[in-house]
Symmetry: C2
Subunit: 281 residues, 2 copies
């Protein structure tokens, strides 16, 4: 397995693969890999043997009071997991390689970036769109696989790729969950034992929402109230948002259909967790 | 000469050239071509026989009170000029092809976009950066040639290409001028005979600025005052800005060096003209 730390080295690898007329699959990550990331790699490997994983904790997607400094990092462990899963190349740049002095360019996806996580994290998706565009231009992937756990991120990236006429094929892949249903996330490492036990409420409440819909309830306000009650009944859980939105526009809906998505963000202590479910689940 | 109106058709042409391992040169324009544009085409032809010219009056770079609706257009004439100059392919899309319903993504180059023309045209360079990025992704040029008349635009595009790790080589090409020194511009077509006669003051005052510098004056305020006086002495000329800036950062300088640029924008009636000169000219 190759490890490339500079853009120059990365481009040489890309040029070599392209010169053989072969395709590149790409899984951008912030490292501290878990089974969810590895499942994205496995998905990418269905398309091509040349799978690149980037490991880069992207500073531009963190707000000033967010967890950039304490975001978990363990490159040796990540390297091992990538090798075991058949990654061909890791791109592992320093922040100054991606954002050198004088860096000034940002990509904004209006509308989609503004609701849900965009309310409490106003610059987050600008940072995500910008770094993903840069990584796409460096890695030139034919396929890029993103987890559906970060549902809004996936929507923003799909929109950017379409709007900017980028060549990459963006694939959304289902959320991988722990045995009790908690969506896998590098941020789960922040949770105390007590918080970890409570965190299952995110998935439980989403499943309850779908259950109610399947039983005939279509009023978003009703189902939202039920989910809010369940989360609020769990001591220590602070709701950031509980929203039912259209799967594509991410605009709130009043009447739920199979194309609706329920998306939630909840704080447990210092840790902010997100999850979502489609009502056709 | 080929004329492609859709992105799909354009991409087929690009794929064909790339499949032969050959390079593409690109000159993005808003049409109503003049000798300045044709000189950019000739420059591009030094690198490759496959030169694409785009003709697209980009709505996102015009403010609400600007001249989008009356911007001059004459595709038949442009077509003839392109054919005579050896253009291989014109990309001539409709606005809805470039900005379909739901379009949401914009690229901002901070800092460089904010001074000079950015003061009176706050969304202009966002529109320019966005459309140029889209055109680069569609045309996949190896070389793209831009006129130095639009000095700030060139700086913004170079910065974007560097920041977003785009593969294209951006080439700045010297301003082409009328016999009396007026920089060629599609907007010169707006000028009345009287205004046209007065418009020469832009170039005259810039040349005077360089003359003063070459005679030993380095105080930006002194040279700026002289240029302002010359323009204000021309009845009907309203100054938008007269600035002396660093060639790369576009930040105002107090002491002029060979790396300084004088950039000016002047309104004559309803027509806003720009010009610039480097002090090492």
């Amino acid at each position: 397995m190759l490890i490339k730390k500079t853009i120059e080295e990365m481009k040489e690898y890309v040029a070599f693969i392209k010169s053989k007329g072969e395709t590149i699959g790409f899984v951008p990550t912030m490292g501290y890999l878990h089974e969810g990331h590895l499942d994205l790699v496995r998905k990418a490997k269905e398309f091509t043997p040349h799978v690149v994983v980037s490991i880069f904790v992207n500073p531009t997607q963190f707000g000033p009071n967010e967890d950039l400094a304490r975001y978990p990092r363990d490159f040796e462990r990540d390297e091992k997991l990538c090798a075991q899963t058949g990654v061909e190349c890791i791109f592992y740049p320093e922040p100054a390689e991606i954002y050198p002095d004088g860096y000034s360019t940002y990509i904004t996806v209006e509308g989609l970036s503004e609701g849900l996580c965009g309310v409490s994290r106003p610059i987050h998706f600008r940072g995500v769109a910008t770094v993903v565009a840069k990584l796409f231009n460096i890695v030139e992937p034919d396929f890029a696989v993103f987890g559906q756990k970060d549902y809004q991120q996936l929507a923003v990236i799909k929109r950017m790729v379409k709007d900017l006429n980028m060549k990459v094929n963006v694939i959304g892949h289902p959320t991988v969950r722990e045995a009790d249903g908690l969506a896998m996330s590098s941020r789960n490492a922040y949770l105390t034992t007590e918080e970890r036990a409570k965190a299952v409420i995110l998935n439980l409440s989403l499943k309850r929402a779908v259950e109610l819909f399947k039983a005939g309830e279509t009023a978003a306000s009703e189902i939202r109230n039920e989910v809010v009650s369940m989360i609020e009944a769990t001591p220590g859980c602070i709701i950031d948002y509980v929203e039912i939105v259209d799967w594509s526009s991410l605009k709130p809906v009043e009447s739920i259909t199979n194309e609706s998505v329920m998306a939630i963000a909840v704080k447990l202590g210092k840790t902010r967790l997100i999850d979502n479910i489609r009502f056709d689940a």
